[in-house]
Structure formats: C-alpha cells, structure tokens
Symmetry: C2
Subunit: 134 residues, 2 copies
C-alpha cells in the first residue's frame, strides 16, 4: 500500500479518525467508530472493517466475537480528510451489540429518547462464546 | 425542552458529539460534523442542523452563508449515546463547501485517493456573499 493513502488522512490529536459504516444494500447508517492508522491499513488489506477500540485500546476486528463482520465494498474520504465513510456488506444483518440492525435505534419524541427499532437477535445468542460488549 | 434529552447524550472531553447528516430522500451520507450542547439544543429548537465549528469556536448554522440549510426531519442517538444521526432535507442539493452533493467525494484506487464525484455548483457561486469555507 502506498504510504500516501494513509498520509492523506488527517488523524486527530489521539491518532484517530471517525469512521461511518453504511450498509451498501439499503443505505442505512450502521454505526460510527474510530480507526487509527494501523486499523485503516488492516481494513484496506483485509477488505473488512477493522476499528480501534478506545476502551480496549486495541484493534477491533468487527464481528470477531459475533461473526457479523463488515465486508468492505467501498471507502470514501471527506473534503477535510478527517472522516472516512465505508460502504459495507453487514454479515448477519446485525451491526449493533444490542442485536439490532444498526446502532442508531434511539429516536426522540416529546417525552425524550425511546427505543424505536426492534432487537433482531438476542445479544446472548449473538455473543454465545464471549457475551462482552464490542 | 427536557434537560434529560441533552443529559442522555455523552459529550466528549471537549464537550462535543460527532453528528452524521444523512439525506432523507436518497439516503446518501452528506457530512460529519460536531455539536456541543448548545448546538444540539439549537438544532432541536430550530429544526435545522446547527453545528459547532471547531475552527471558529462558535455555532455554525449550516447554510448560513450558502443558503443550503439542512432541515431536520429525524434525529437518532446511538447505543453508546455518543453519536447523533440526523435525517435531513438538504436545501439546494449541495452539502459540501466544494459544491458537491456530499463531502465524501474522494474514492480510492490503486494510485490513491481521487475525486469521484462531480462539482454541482461553483463554490464561488455558492458563497457569493462570503466565499469562506464553512
């Protein structure tokens, strides 16, 4: 890989760049996560989303415990060079650790935030080996 | 507005939350920007996207110079409570200060990043009054 591909990306003061994952088939926004330089390189090399877990401080191969990997179909960089957009195939149809299709399931009404989307898979089933939150 | 609506959002150590704007009609991801607590409140009250400009350190009413405002149709909060997703009507059909429909116009090929999307409006026309980058 040309170093210039990584050099063009503007990582923040923590060495991270925000990454949006979008489902290529129905265009729903699945999640937002972070990558460091190593994670971007791994994502491009492995053609699957590899994020950087800020809580675990290590690479996080999305789907490593659930099997619900995100196959990389396209990657875009924004005008400022500081945000990435992935077009992915979400294996298993579930991106969120709560068992929902995507992470943006909380909508707003007069009373406040409420869960607007259905749980498709029981999280305990999703993480049958390792029920920890990704 | 109930304070709990804002209190549920997890702002980062700089008091900011990343916000994704998605076009409600064609589902394209338009841009990623940031909001502080005041910007979220203004967005909800005014029913249009009001971001926080980190470079200008002030509220940024998207479209204030170009006229291309983003009307708020829906807002979602993610599972971790630290990212917002807006569904918007992008007035003028151009979200990017470069005159493109959205900010994610740089695609990747063997040679590196290249501009994959067309400029729809000359930026000088877009910012006829104030040609500064938003």
């Amino acid at each position: 890989m040309h170093a210039s591909i990584l050099d063009t990306i503007k990582f923040d003061d923590k060495g991270l760049v925000p990454v949006i994952a979008q489902d290529h088939s129905n265009k729903q926004v699945l999640m937002m996560a972070w990558m460091n330089r190593e994670a971007v390189e791994a994502t491009l090399n492995e053609k699957r989303a590899v994020y950087y877990s800020r809580s675990r401080q290590s690479l996080w191969r999305k789907g490593e415990s659930s099997g619900n990997i995100q196959k990389l179909l396209d990657i875009r960089l924004d005008c400022d060079g500081d945000t990435l957009l992935l077009s992915v195939e979400q294996v298993g149809g579930v991106a969120c650790h709560t068992g929902r299709a995507n992470c943006f399931y909380r909508a707003l009404n007069e009373q406040g935030w409420y869960d607007a989307d259905d749980v498709l898979v029981d999280p305990e089933t999703l993480y049958s080996k390792k029920p920890a939150q990704e």
